[in-house]
Amino acid sequence: MNQNGYGSGYQTGSLPALPEAASEVGQLFEPLFWYITAVTAAGTLLVMALVTVFCVRYRRQNTTGSTPRILGSHRLELFWTVTPLMIFLTFFAWGVYIYDRAVQVPNDIPEIFVIGKQWMWKAQYPNGQRVIIGGNPRNMTPEERADIGALVLPLGRPVKVTFISEDVIHDFGVPAFRQKIDVIPGRYVSTWYNPTKLGDFHVFCDQYCGAWHSLMVGKIKVVPPAEFEQFLEGKGGVQGSDNPVDGSLAFKGWQHFQRLQCQGCHVTNEGQGTRRAPRAPNLEGLYGAEIPLEDGTTAAADEQYIRESIVNPRAKVHQGWKPVMPGNFGPGVNGQTTEEELRELVAYIKWLKPGQSVPPNDLFPPPYGAPRNTPPTPKPSPSAGGN
């Protein structure tokens, strides 16, 4: 790997005439791009040809110096107002069609979570597999450096990718997929990819993010589905990382839930051994519900709502509950979680279906990491997260 982080796997010669289009949206992009190119080139050449012809034909040497007094023509004005507009609207309509395909994420496809930070990309798969997609090695801890691999995607299987930034605005751009999306702090944004070609592809940070913006690059590796399954299990060597899979996101989320003592208030088994009334709403079945708020409106409990309710709990309080939750659970100066841990918490809360909670095993659970006698039951299965 040379200094700027581009692996030796890339060609070092000249660019191909046409860049590879390696995803469904990428293949949709090409016809539109060439349609606009052809139409606008024809228009531009028409203008240039007219300018050239007029300049040659009506040059002073060819003319008397006297000219007709032509003031204009309403019909011509109308013609060259309406014609370009109609042509532009075909670009618009076709562009909307592709945009719709690119940004409307299909339901029920596996979700990968990617965090951007100065200056690296970190990915978490729903089963707990982690990898650093790329970044500036000079800016990483030795452990992180050992984890540098690629965002592994299965060929021909759509995947949803959800992004958030830990610090400034980044942008996850994949030229081979003809897509990019700004990665914004404090907000989950999602897109989806359906890779159609095997191989390694560039990932660029496309939004200026500071000193090593240009080193915030990584790669996407599209592999056959079987190899992808192996990668998820942590067996294959496809990504060059020996990072073991240590439990699903939802499982780790449950661990944070315990550590942060969330269950002290979000009591799920009201009256069953807790001897006190809950101080916060039950989180079972929260994801996807419409939450009634104090001001009479409702909020859809999506990932963004769950995240916001952890980071800034008083912003949208469930009707009938007091705003008692402290505001220091999120990432930040005195925060208790990182963006990755927050993501795991969200995955756990998403996973909670009615009756599925892990009850507190006693009134004062031992702190996270302390030795314990019995494993909690029921334990979320590693494959359950990310639904």
Binding site: T40, F54, T67, R69, I70, G72, F91, F92, P185, D206
Partner: protein
Amino acid sequence: MSIIVHDEPRVGPVPPEPTPPAKNYLNVAHTAASWLFTVDHKRIGILYLVSLTFFFTVGGLAAGLVRLNLLAPDGAIMTEDAYNRSFTAHGVVMLFLFLIPSIPAVFGNFFVPMMIGAKDLAFPKLNLASWYVYMVGSGFLVWSVLAGGVDTGWTLYPPYSSRYSTSNVTPGVFGVFITGFSSIMTGLNIMVTVHKMRCPGMTWGRLPLFIWSMYATSFIQLLGTPVVAITLVLLMVERVAGIGIFDPTIGGDPVLYQHLFWFYSHPAVYIMIVPGMGVISEVITCFARKNIFGYKAVAWSSVGIAVVGFMVWAHHMFVAGIAYYSAILFSFLTMLVAVPSAIKVFNWVATLYRGSITFQAPMLFVLAFLVLFTVGGVTGLFLATLGTDIHLHDTYFVVAHFHFVMVGGMVLAYLAALHYWWPKMTGRMYSDFWSRASATIIFVGFFLTFVPQFVLGYHGMPRRYPNYPPEFQVYNVLSTAGASVLGFGYLLPGFYLTLSLFFGEKASANPWSATGLEWVSSSPPPVFNFDRNPVVVCGPYEYAIGVDQLGRGLPEPPGPGSADDPASHDGPTGPAGPMQKETHVVG
């Protein structure tokens, strides 16, 4: 279309060359104080011209550093950090200190009063104040650059600019904030002047199109600039006081900044280009000896751009997490704003039809503008279209697009204006050969510089990348090679225009045989512009009839066929002379 044929030529007598007054605006006083405390709009225009030339050079040098560094995939001459500061300096200086003031502050100041027959702008002291405000603001910017630079990019997106950057963001932002007031003052001054100070007979329908475009520009400056001013204040408040406005970790919203910023900065690209369009209308009619084709269409398309330009800002944010339907709406509105520019181009081309065209330097710059601006305009359509923007956004395709519009369009229009009005401003003619050579070299160098960048952008090379994959190197080297040609082209006017001040032939009052009022007075003009108050009797581009706006005949146009051309034997108004009128009235 009907053709009316008059029997008699309606050419008025060619007025005698006005005797140059002993005291013109340049030699009336020579002390430094007479320049620094002047309220003469012409002298303030010259002050702006000198300052803008300086900052254009600074911004150009920064661009040179950027292009040199991109010769090698790992950065040829400097670190990433230095590169980031260079491209930020290039962007900030070129946009805020050159492009936004450029034509309004230099040629607007100098020629708006002259073209509408006024003695000065409506508020001469405000005009001088605007230059001082501009100099104070640019002083802050120079300070921030000399003290180490700013590394945020000219767009200054928070939370990077407000919380993370360790460079001199605060003085830089404060400088931009201050120069904004200079822009407001100029806009206000020009708008009031156009409303209140037109000479008798100068109706709205007889205004030169340069005035219409300056009027539309002033409208944008007045409405847009306060928004960016308050945005920059909010940015400084967050940076200095830590009050959460844009940074989500302290309760802000980073996308809010982008909405506010582009609400000004998109119309700001029209502040830059619309005055250039006005220049094109002036020059192309003069050198084609034609009335403008579709006066009203060209005039109202300027106003249309100014109005619709305020409704398209979010097309800079298609991938920045804006809502699905607002992306669609803004894409649609952007298609609408492309139409007035297309109308203008078609009208300019139609103006050439059946003209009698000569190719002095101003005209060459205008022809280059027509080609480059058209390319720049149509490549904007790729970015207005949602399906293509999600790939091309923030790549070199965008860089190439706006350089085609801003440099290929705006800077060439600025150079056209400079060459067109130089004899009037200085009273001297410059070298015909070298000025044409410069126009040609700039045109060629421009193409070589920016066409490779379209290819790079299509292949996905991001903006603001000192390090790039090795396969992109060939096109980057091509672009840098083109940039050196372009840089050489820019140097030439610096030489021959300066030399013309000392050795140039003395210019007559109306060396291009143009119709505008600014050509009525001698070159350089007297202190109060006109010897007697002009009374306008006709529209601005009566080249076909051969009268200026006072209804007087035009002197013989320069170029082949003029009296000093041996091919012309019968004098200018003889049967084969250039001033012989067919008097076909077509319309």
